[in-house]
Symmetry: C2
Subunit: 491 residues, 2 copies
Amino acid sequence: MSKNITKRSEDYSKWYNELVVKADLAENSGVRGCMVIKPYGYAIWEKMQAELDKKFKETGHQNAYFPLFIPKSYFSKEASHVDGFAKECAVVTHYRLKTAEDGKTIEVDPDAKLEEELIVRPTSETIIWDTYRKWIESYRDLPILVNQWANVVRWEMRTRLFLRTAEFLWQEGHTAHATEKEAIAEAEQMLDVYADFAENFMAIPVVKGFKTENERFAGAIETYCIEALMQDGKALQAGTSHFLGQNFAKAFDVKFTSQEGKQEHVWATSWGVSTRLMGALIMTHSDDNGLVLPPNLAPIQVVIVPIHKTDEQLEAIREEVKKITDRFKKLNISFKFDDRTSFKPGWKFAEYELKGVPVRIAVGPKDLENGTFEVARRDTLTKEVVSKDGIVEYIQDLLETIQANLYKKAYDYRAEHITEVNSFEEFKEVLEGKGGFISAHWDGTGETEEKIKDLTKATIRCIPIDRKEEEGICVLTGKPSKGRVLFAKAY
Amino acid sequence: MSKNITKRSEDYSKWYNELVVKADLAENSGVRGCMVIKPYGYAIWEKMQAELDKKFKETGHQNAYFPLFIPKSYFSKEASHVDGFAKECAVVTHYRLKTAEDGKTIEVDPDAKLEEELIVRPTSETIIWDTYRKWIESYRDLPILVNQWANVVRWEMRTRLFLRTAEFLWQEGHTAHATEKEAIAEAEQMLDVYADFAENFMAIPVVKGFKTENERFAGAIETYCIEALMQDGKALQAGTSHFLGQNFAKAFDVKFTSQEGKQEHVWATSWGVSTRLMGALIMTHSDDNGLVLPPNLAPIQVVIVPIHKTDEQLEAIREEVKKITDRFKKLNISFKFDDRTSFKPGWKFAEYELKGVPVRIAVGPKDLENGTFEVARRDTLTKEVVSKDGIVEYIQDLLETIQANLYKKAYDYRAEHITEVNSFEEFKEVLEGKGGFISAHWDGTGETEEKIKDLTKATIRCIPIDRKEEEGICVLTGKPSKGRVLFAKAY
């Protein structure tokens, strides 16, 4: 299979699709809209999981597991939730198959129809709040701080690997609190956890903000989000945290006895990130040569390729390499010594470039003579000859440098792509020109938001949390506004 | 809620059901046959997962993820597999709901019928081998050593928490090899991994063996298993590893070009353990007071309960306790200092006993004076007063002692419950008496196996791998036999 992929400047979308498949991250399956996450892609997801899980536990959360199926009637209980989630979904109607008359194929057994259809969970608020009713009696049972790692299904018509698939993997936190204040604090805390994770672990700068009413989670009072900017100027929602008020507690009759002895409805939050983050990762850092991975997320941080003609040379190289890999192990630097003879060094170079391995070390007989290694960086595509003395410390520093550089690069790109505009002409010009986030005044109505979307395909990505108060007029209607919001075309 | 549970001698089955719920491990959900795994139960499962995952990776496996749904037609491709798995299953037939005429309830949209029904995976051989066809061209692509952590669904009519649920969590390994020999070696290796895990991590002694043809996995040439013995004398299959031959490769047309340039079908294995292991854990170690956990699996290894009347006393205790918990942290000993004043010490003692915390430390003003702690063991229900000098080392040793003691206790119990019998009278007597494994001669036919099952409810749990050759006659038919097999009633 050729390692060449379409250039980003030619067709960004095609570049993305090819990269996901050729870098062995994921592929489409025989099931419409469902992907196979391949081992290399899954190894990256596992690193995300491990780091997030650690952060969740540090903030007092525990994992649990709730059923995959949700009885249909549960969805009718929270009025706005049903419209948002229970429509395009996978519906289980039968529980048995039987052999058809041809004695070979199998068919649904009409006698095995479920009394009530089951929905494959698109999100678990309903089944979880139905459970929390049994767990909560008094204020002493609160807060409940639970997270679930799970698969969910939303019947998407147009799917794209990682970005929008019928089945995807995610985590969903669901917490229950005695007071509104505590629930809001939780939703905000988890937004901070996500932002910290995106920026300091994935090297993806994000804007923290609120969603407008139109864009809120179905059933939420407030949806907080982190928004990232991709290289093609489109935004990507990378995580959301919802303050759900008492909506689900009321729908599922979840009350507690307060310290004062009163019966009150419980306050709720939910928050989640998904395998969509894989898409954000790819579209933030990668280039025309393939994937670029921040060292924190790279399944292989350092690949070592021997360059040799004879077996003796390979032996000598192996010996020298072992000295440094022994130390890599102690430092938890993951590495691969690729001494396969069935592939040429040039092929290997291209392979690891495509797969985004942050650091490549090449070593041949000349290097052995000189006591050096050739060290190549994936992020800058530069090479350097490094003395074997101190090479391990050099690599250790380099991995940190690369992590920091990738963040800086993405940050600088985003900084260049947040544009303040003060007229609708300017708005359209920037949107069709360099794209990115457009910081503009908006009159605060859903109507105007919809109109701008119809006219330009741009949506309000968020109302930034740290926005400054500023008197202005809406770019579309000229009505008064108290501050700017961020618009963009989005994934 | 009362902490008292039914005694095992009164009703073992009731004891189990009550214990699972009262120790906060799991509970039934609003969805028929599907359980909620509660945080405390899930924390134990996470420890199993982490250890197994480490072992899988050490033996060269990588994780990946395949679709939840399997097109119905895939099941017809492997003839024996379809009978075993595609019958009692959850069938997705529609992909949309709509609001009913009452404007409130929702109903299945008849216009959104799938062209081909999708089965919620009961096991993933079919979808995975459909994928492997695309991954394998040459011997260079082999072996593929992949594992998946996932949820699966089998529509069970009678369910019991952890032991038999419609949805359960598991891992399923699926490997592809160039030769029969290599595939068999893999299946055997994974059996050893499971046995090692059960015995040395979960403190559950197991017998390694082969399944008879009747009990084999649908689609396997050979099924290897580990069988454990529960306290009520019934066996529990704790894990299986299958050599699948070329069955799935042939069904899904997966061929490779060998080193000699020939086209050959690929050889396969699959292997799995599930949340059923939670049931095995509970029924191997626990007692009438509640759960008993081996330290390796305990979410909390040591609980510390202060006994005090005044705030000053609590402060003094807290100070002393901090000295030891600081050292616990460094030693990765998990602990909880339960200084809640809303609960009395006696209540806490009962609570942690019920939850199986291996070691309880109690400390009061008298202990502070004497420089001692009171240390209680969950496994033996004994107490000892220990000097604060060397307490941390004492606890560290004690945790190892408890782990070893639980294994020994279970091992001794099993040793007493493997009985060699030489007549069918004796067979029935032992089975209805002390139960356990019955080691008996069998003529090797499925017919006899079935007959014995009909007469006694006992099945052949396995043909032990290490059985010695021994001439004998079948307990039922008197026909010749070359060695003994293990019978038991089973979960």
